[in-house]
Subunit: 197 residues, 4 copies
Amino acid sequence: MNKRQLQKQKTREHILKIAKQEFVEKGFLNTTTNQIALQAGIAHGTLFLHFKNKDNLIVEILDKELELMSSGIQDLVGRSADLEQMLILYLNLLEEDEKLFSVLARELPFYPEELRRKIMFRDSLIRSHFHNVIESGIGAGKYRKLDPSTAVTFLFGTINYYLSLRSIFVENGSVIAKFRSKIISTFKALLICEKEK
Amino acid sequence: MNKRQLQKQKTREHILKIAKQEFVEKGFLNTTTNQIALQAGIAHGTLFLHFKNKDNLIVEILDKELELMSSGIQDLVGRSADLEQMLILYLNLLEEDEKLFSVLARELPFYPEELRRKIMFRDSLIRSHFHNVIESGIGAGKYRKLDPSTAVTFLFGTINYYLSLRSIFVENGSVIAKFRSKIISTFKALLICEKEK
Amino acid sequence: MNKRQLQKQKTREHILKIAKQEFVEKGFLNTTTNQIALQAGIAHGTLFLHFKNKDNLIVEILDKELELMSSGIQDLVGRSADLEQMLILYLNLLEEDEKLFSVLARELPFYPEELRRKIMFRDSLIRSHFHNVIESGIGAGKYRKLDPSTAVTFLFGTINYYLSLRSIFVENGSVIAKFRSKIISTFKALLICEKEK
Amino acid sequence: MNKRQLQKQKTREHILKIAKQEFVEKGFLNTTTNQIALQAGIAHGTLFLHFKNKDNLIVEILDKELELMSSGIQDLVGRSADLEQMLILYLNLLEEDEKLFSVLARELPFYPEELRRKIMFRDSLIRSHFHNVIESGIGAGKYRKLDPSTAVTFLFGTINYYLSLRSIFVENGSVIAKFRSKIISTFKALLICEKEK
DNA sequence: TATGAATGAGCATTCATTCAT
DNA sequence: GATGAATGAATGCTCATTCAT
C-alpha cells in the first residue's frame, strides 16, 4: 500500500469514527451527512468519495461496531454457563454502551435490508447462547418445561422494549440499571418455580 | 343529518380510509399529506379542513383502533376477568390490523412528543387492564408473587418486538398468528406454576 | 324596508361590530375572515355576501369608526382654543381607544389606497385644529416663529411612533399614559421659550 | 482568496443585491425567497446555503446600511460633535437608500420578534449618538434643559413618520429631500432658543 | 484525491374566495 | 338570503447527492 492509499485509508477510518460518535448521540436517521463531514473536518463531498451513499456508511459503521460488540459479548457470556451470570454480564455490556444500543433498538427496523440482516444475525449468536443454556437446563430438569426460543424472545423483546423507549423510562441515566433487578428476577421466575414463601 | 353534513362525513371517512391504507403501506412518517390527498381525490387543503394537522389524523386513526381494543377488553373484563381470554382477544385484535400495529410499533419512538404521549396514554389504558387482572390474581393467590408491572412489560415488550420486526419473522401472513400459542403459553408459565406432568 | 332587508341590515351591522372587536385585538391584517365569521356566529360564506372581499370590509369598518372618532375629537378640541388643553384632550381620547389607534398606526401603510386616503383625510382635520391654534399663536407672539405644519408633524409623528411601537414601550397598560407628560412638555418647549431656571 | 471562494463571494453578493432590489420594490414581508432565487438565477436551496434563513438575509442587508450610517456618524462625532452636521449626514444617508428605509419604517412592527430586536438594537446605536451629543450639549449649557430621550424620540418619530408614509408625501423623489430643511430647523428650534429677530 | 458550491425535489400548513345546495 | 365544504396557490426551509475546479 503506497502513501496515497494509506492516507485514504486513514481518512476513511476517521470518518467512520466520527460518524459513530454522531450516530450514538442522535441516531443515524437524524444525523445529516453534512454534520458528519463537519465534525470530521472533511469536505462534504469527500464523504461520498469513501462511501457511495449514506446507507453504505451506516452499514460499514455498524458492521464494524457489531463485530467488536458481539465478540466481546460472546467472550463474556461464553465464560459462564450460569444463566443468571450470563444475563448479568449481558445487561452490564448493554449498560456500558446503552446509548448505542438504544439507538439500535429504535432504528433497526428502518435500516437497509442488508444491514438489518447482519445485525440480526449477530444478535442471534448471542441469543443462541442463552437458548442453549436454557435448553440444556430444561433437559437437566433445572428449568421448567417451556419453549426455549419463546423464552429467549421474551427476554430480548423486553430488553429491546426498554431500550427503544429509553427516553420515556428515564430522564438521564440508564434504563438497564433502573430495571436490571426486575428483569432478572422476572426472567428467573419464568424459568424456575420457586416455592412461594 | 342533512345532505351537507352527510357529504362532509363521507369525505372525512374517505380520507380516514385512504390515509390508513397509505399509512399501513408506507408508515406514517413516510406518507405525505399530499399523497393522501392525491389518493383520496381531494384538494390538498381539504385534508386540513377535516383534520387540524397530520398528527391529528394519525391520532384519529389510531384512536379508533385502540379504543376498539380497550373497550373490547373492558367488556371482557366486566364479564369474566380471565387473563387468558383477555390475551387471546388482544392478540386477535392486533392480528386484525396487524400491518397497522406493526407500523406503530416501529415508528412510535420517532413520533413528535405530543403524538407519542397521546398514543402511549391510550396504550396504557389497555395495559392497565392486564395490570389490574394480574394484580388481583396475585392477591387472590391465583398467580405467583411477581411484580405485575414488569410482568406486563414482558408481555407487551415481547409482542412489540414481534410486531416491529414483523417482516423478519414472516414473509406474508401474520406474526401474531404464527406465535400466538407460544406467547400465550409462555406468559401463562410466567404467572402460574403448574405442576410438571 | 321589508323584513328581509331589515334582517340583512342587522346581520351586516353585526358583522361590522364583531369584525371591529377582532380587528382591535389582533389587527386587521392578522385577522382571518374565518375568525370573524366564527365569532359573529355566521357562515364563512355569508361574510362575502355582505362584503365583496376582505378589503371592502375593513374599509367599511374603519370608515364608520373614524366618523365617530373624528367627530368626537373635533368636539373636544373645538371646545378649547388652548393648545395644551387640546393636546391633553387629544391624548386622553387616544388613550381611551389606544389598542385601536395602535393598530391603525401600525397598519395604515398597508391598507388599500382608498381607505388610507380616508383615514389621512380625517386625521388632517384634527391636525388642522392644532395647525390653526399654533399659527394664530405665532401671529399673536405667543409662540415662537416656526413652521406650523412641521411643528404639527413633529407632534403627530412622535405620537404615531409611540403608538405603532406600543408593545415595545410598554408590557401592558398605556404608552400614552406613560409618555403623556414628556410629550406635552417637550412639545411646549418646541413652541415656547421659557426662561431657563 | 482562490477561485472557489471568489465565486462564492460573488454569488453571495449577487443574492444580496437582487434581494435588496426585490425588498425595496415589494417590501420584505411580500418578497418570497423563491422570487429572490428566481430573479437571482440560482436554485432556491442555494439561497439558504448563503443565508441561514430569510430573516438573516434581511438582517444582513439592513446591517450593512445601519452600520454604514452608524460609523459615518461616529466618525463625525469624533471630529466635531456638531449636532446639525450629524443630522444632515443622517438625513443624507437615509435619502441615499430612502426606498429601503421607507420599507423598514413601515414593516418593522410586523417583523418577527428576533429580527425586530436585532434591527432595533442597531437603530439604537445610531440614536445613542444623537442622545449623547444632546445630553452633553445640555450639560454644557448649549442646549435647553429638556429630556434628551424624548427629544430624540421626537426626531426619530417624525422622520419615521415621513418615511413610512413616504408615498403620500411625495409622488416620486425623496421625502427626506423635500422636508430636510424643515426637519432640521424645527429640531434646532426644539433644542435652542434663539432670540427672535 | 479532495473540495465545497450548487442543486431541486420535497413537505406541512394557511386562507381568501367560490359555488352547489 | 344563507350556508359551509372545497379549493389550490403559496411559503420557508432541508438535505443527500453531484460535479466543476
